[in-house]
Amino acid sequence: MRYLPHTKEDIQEMLQVVGAADLDALFSSIPDECRRKEAMNLPDPITEWELNGHMDCMAASMGAPPFYKVFMGAGSYHHYIPEITRQLLLRSEFFTAYTPYQPEISQGTLQTIYEYQTLVTRLLGMDVANASMYDGASGLAEALLMTIRATRRKKVAVSRVVHPLYRQVVKTYFAPTGFEVVELPVGTDGRTDLSGLADLGELAGVALQSPNFFGCIEDLEAAGKAIHTDKKTLFVVGFSEPLAYGLLKSPGACGADIACGEGQSFGIPQSFGGPGLGMFAAKQKYVRTMPGRLIGKTTDRDGKTGFVLTLATREQHIRREKATSNICSNQGLCATAATMYMAAVGGTGIRELSRLNRDRAEYLKASLAKAGHTSPFSAPTFNEFVVRFPDGFADTWQALLEKKIVAGLHLAPYYPEMSDCWLMCVTETISKNTIDSLVKEVVK
C-alpha cells in the first residue's frame, strides 16, 4: 500500500523498542470484550489507474456542464472558475495545512484569510467578517441565534422567500432551543411583505434574502427602515448569489446588522452542493457575539507585521458550553478560493461580470415573455427569475433532459401553490446562442 511506509524490518525494530511481541499486542489496553472479532468487510484496494477509470465512469452519469446546459441556480451557481484558482489552491502549503494555530508557520493561510475578511466586508458593506461558516444555510441559522444572544429576545422572523432549504436548516437548529421562528409572507410583487411586522411582537432579528429565492431583489433599504422601527431588532440580510453585490447596493449600505450567505459563486465548484462557503459579516458592535474564527493583524518581536487568530475567547476551545458557536473546522480552503477569485475578478471585473449575469438573464426573461411565458412577479431580478408555464410544461421539461437541457427548477416541491412555476437561472456561462436554443425548444 503506497500510503504506508512501514517495512517488515521497521515494524520489528519498532515493536522491540515498544516492547510488544507483535502488532496485536499494541492493543493490550483494549479489553477483550471490546475487541472486534470479525474482519471488516471492505473491498480489495484498487490501483490509482483503476480508481481513475471507476470514478470517470461514475461521473459520466452526471448531468453536468459542459455536456448539459443547466438553467438552474437556486443556491448553486455555475460560474467560470479561472484556472489559476484551481491550480493555486493545489499549492499543498495551503491545502494540506491545518487551522493556523501556529502563526509563525501559517502566515500564508493567515494573510489570505485576513484578505478574505477584508474583501467580504467590502463586498457586503459591513465592518467585520469571520473566516467562514459551513454554508449559507447554517450561516443563516447561526446569524439568527446571534440576534437572540445580542438582544436577549426569544423570537425571530424569516421571510418565506428565503431559500426553502435554508429555512429548513434554521428550523432544525431552532427545534431544541425553545426559541421561536415565524415566517413573513411574500407580496404579489415577489418581495417579502413586511406590513405585518408590527404585530409580531418583540423580535430579536428579521431575516430577508436578496436576491431572494425567486430571484427578486428586495428593497433592502425600505426593509431596514421598517425593521429598525424597533431599535433593538437586528436586520439580517441573507444571500445565495454574492455576485449580485457587484451590481447592487450592499446590505451594509441598506442598514443590515448581519449579512450572511453562500459564497460558492466565487471560484468554488458546485460539487453537488458542497463544500461551499458560509460568508458571515456583521457590524463592529456585534463582533464579540459573532460565531466563527477571526484573523487579526499584529506585529512580531522584531516589529514585523503578521497575522494571528484573535478574539478566540468567543470560541468553543476556550469558552466551551458558553461559546458563541460550536464551529471548529470551517470552510477555510473555500474562503481561500473565494479570495483568489475576488482578486482575479477585481473591482472593475466584478461590475462587468455582475451586469452580464443580469443582462443575460433579462434577455431570457424577455424572450420567454415575448412567447407568452411571463413571470408572476413584478420586482426586478438579478440572474434568476420565476416563469409561469402553461399546462404540459412538465413534460416538455422532461423531454428537454434528453436533449441535455435542464430548463430550470420546478417550484412545486417548495411552494405547492406555484406548481406551474419554474425558477430559471442564467449566468455568464450561458451564451445568447444557448439561451436562444432554449427558447426555441420551449416555445415550439
Binding site: H6, E13, M62, G63, A97, E104, G108, K249, F272, A344
Partner: protein
C-alpha cells in the same frame, strides 16, 4: 543528518492584495457581451465593492508567495495531536476535479445524479462497516457539525419517548466542541472527572447519571490517547437510565478493524473524514463529519437520506422522526468523494492503517519518555501526551518547545490540550510517517530538551527561521484589526 532541517529558505515579502495592482487590470477572462444592457432601478444599484484590479500574474505571484509562508503535511511531519494529519493523497484531488462531479448541480433530477448518489450510498456502507454502526448520514459538514447532529438526535429521541431530558455528561478530557454542541441543543453539560489513570471510572458516571440526563459524550480513544477501557460498563450505566451514548470519533484512526464501535455500546458516532479518511484540512476546512448510528436511531438521522431501490439511487425525505436538515444540500460532497477515493485505495489495509498509527505513537512515547514527563505511563493508542514538567525547572515551557520544533523543520504537536494536563504536548504521528522521519523528530525533541538545560534563552527566542517570529497576540486582541 546533523544540521537542523529548518533554514530561512527563500522567503519573499508580499504586500496585502489591495496594496497591489492598478485600476483597469483584470485577472479573469470575461465572456463577450452578446446581449444589451438592461435598465435597473437606480435606487437598487450600488457603487460596487472596492476590490483591487490585478492582472492574472499579479494574482498568481501573490498567492504563490503567501503559500511559501505556510507549512503543510507535504512540507514535513505534522504531528498535531487529535488532528490526524496524515498524507492527503494526490489522486483524491484528481477525482474531485472530474467535471461530472465538480460541475454537478445539487438539485439535478435523480436520473442525472446517479453517480453522486451511488458514491454517497456506497460511502455510507463503508463507514457503517468500519464503525459497526450501520445507519449513516454523510450530511454534517465537520466533526462539530456531526456532534450537533448527534445532540439533535439525543433531543429528538427523548422527545419521542415523551420525556425530554436536560443534561448531558461530558468528561473533563473532552474537546471544546462537545459541550458547545450540547449547549446549542439546549442541554446543560455536566462535567465528569476522569480517573487517576486518565480514563473514565464507571462509578463517577453512575453517580451523575440520572433520568434527566440525555446521555454521555465520550471520545474513544480519548484525548489523552488512551482507550476508555470501561466503556462497556459506562454504556451500560447510561443505557440503564434510559440515556444514549455519543462517541466523538475524532480518534477513529487508532481502532479501525480493532474495535467495532457499535459493539461497545456507542449509539451515535461522528467521524472526521478530514482526519481519519485523508481529506485535506485546507488551512481550516472544509471537512466532513458523517454520523453513524444504531438501527434503533436510524429514523432520527437528517434528511434527505440516500437510499437504493433496486438499481436506482434516490433521495428520500420521508422520515417523520428525522431531526431535519443540517446542511443546505447533502453536505460537503467534494470531501465525501475524496474519502471514498481513499477508502477504495486502501481497501482491506485499514487495520494496518490503525496498527501503524498506534505503533508510531508508542514508538515515540517509548523513545521520549525519559526526556519528557509522561503523565500517563501506559500503552497509548494513536497519540501520546507529554508535559513540560522537566523543562519547567529551566524555565522552558511547552510553548518554547513547540516553537523550537519549527526551527527543526517540524510542525509542533498540539499544545495545552487536553486541559486536564498542565503544559500538555500531544503528539500524533499518524501511520504516514516512516521510521526515519520519526527518528529525526525524536532527535529534534531530544536536542531541544538538551537546549532547555544548556541555553533556555535559545528556546525563548525561537523560532528563528520562519518568516515572522513570535507574534503579539495580546495586542491583536486588545485592539482588534480585522480588516484592511
Amino acid at each position: 543528518m546533523k544540521d537542523k532541517m529548518g533554514t530561512t529558505g527563500l522567503i519573499f515579502n508580499e504586500p496585502l492584495l489591495w496594496e497591489k495592482g492598478s485600476p483597469g487590470r483584470k485577472g479573469l477572462s470575461l465572456p463577450r457581451r452578446d446581449v444589451d444592457e438592461t435598465p435597473l432601478d437606480a435606487a437598487l444599484v450600488g457603487d460596487g465593492p472596492d476590490f483591487p484590479d490585478l492582472s492574472e500574474l499579479d494574482v498568481v505571484r501573490h498567492f504563490t508567495k503567501l503559500s511559501q509562508w505556510n507549512f503543510g503535511v507535504d512540507s514535513g511531519m505534522y504531528p498535531l495531536g487529535s488532528c490526524t494529519m496524515k498524507y492527503n493523497p494526490k489522486t483524491n484531488e484528481r477525482q474531485a476535479s472530474i467535471p461530472g462531479f465538480a460541475g454537478a448541480h445539487p438539485l439535478l433530477p435523480e436520473s442525472l445524479s446517479q453517480g453522486a448518489l451511488e458514491l454517497m450510498y456506497d460511502l455510507q456502507g463503508y463507514l457503517g462497516e468500519i464503525t459497526g454502526l450501520p445507519a449513516v448520514s454523510v450530511q454534517p459538514a465537520a466533526g462539530s457539525h456531526g456532534e450537533l447532529t448527534g445532540m439533535l438526535i439525543f433531543a429528538a429521541y427523548h422527545k419521542n419517548k415523551g420525556k425530554p431530558r436536560t443534561k448531558v455528561l461530558i468528561p473533563d478530557t473532552a474537546h471544546g466542541t462537545n459541550p458547545a454542541s450540547a449547549a446549542l441543543c439546549g442541554f446543560t453539560s455536566v462535567g465528569v472527572k476522569s480517573g487517576p489513570d486518565g480514563v473514565l471510572l464507571p462509578e463517577s458516571v453512575a453517580e451523575l447519571m440520572d433520568e434527566d440526563t440525555a446521555g454521555i459524550m465520550i471520545t474513544n480513544p480519548n484525548t489523552l490517547g488512551l482507550f476508555e477501557d470501561n466503556i462497556r460498563q459506562v454504556a451500560d450505566i447510561v443505557h440503564q437510565k434510559g440515556g444514549l451514548v455519543y462517541g466523538d470519533g475524532a480518534n477513529m484512526n487508532a481502532v479501525m478493524g480493532i474495535v467495532n464501535i457499535g459493539d461497545i455500546g456507542v449509539d451515535v458516532l461522528h467521524l472526521n473524514l478530514h482526519k481519519t479518511f485523508s481529506t485535506p484540512h485546507g488551512g481550516g476546512g472544509p471537512g466532513a463529519g458523517p454520523v453513524c448510528v444504531t438501527p434503533e436511531l436510524e429514523p432520527f438521522l437528517p434528511v434527505p437520506r440516500v437510499v437504493k431501490d433496486g438499481d436506482i439511487y434516490r433521495l428520500d425525505e420521508d422520515y417523520p422522526l428525522s431531526v431535519g436538515k443540517v446542511h443546505a444540500f447533502y453536505g460537503n460532497f467534494g470531501i465525501l468523494l475524496r474519502a471514498y477515493s481513499y477508502i477504495l485505495s486502501v481497501g482491506t489495509y485499514f487495520k494496518e492503517v490503525s496498527q501503524y498509527a498506534v505503533l508510531n505513537a508508542n514508538y515515540i512515547k517509548e523513545r521520549l519518555k525519559g526526556t519528557y514527563h509522561l503523565p500517563y505511563d501506559r500503552p497509548c493508542m494513536h497519540e501520546c501526551v507529554f508535559t513540560d514538567k522537566h523543562q519547567q525547572e529551566h524555565h522552558v515551557a511547552t510553548l518554547d518547545i513547540a516553537k523550537r520544533l519549527m526551527d527543526h523543520g517540524f510542525h509542533p504537536p498540539t499544545i495545552y490540550f487536553p486541559l486536564v494536563v498542565s503544559g500538555a504536548i500531544m503528539i500524533e504521528p499518524t501511520e504516514s510517517e516512516s521510521k526515519e522521519t520519526l527518528d529525526q523528530f525524536i532527535d529534534a525533541m531530544k536536542q531541544i530538551a538538551q537546549e532547555a538545560v544548556d541555553c533556555p534563552d535559545c528556546l525563548h527566542e525561537s523560532p528563528q527561521f520562519p518568516k515572522v517570529r513570535r507574534l503579539d497576540e495580546t495586542a491583536a486582541a486588545r485592539n482588534p484589526c480585522l480588516k484592511g
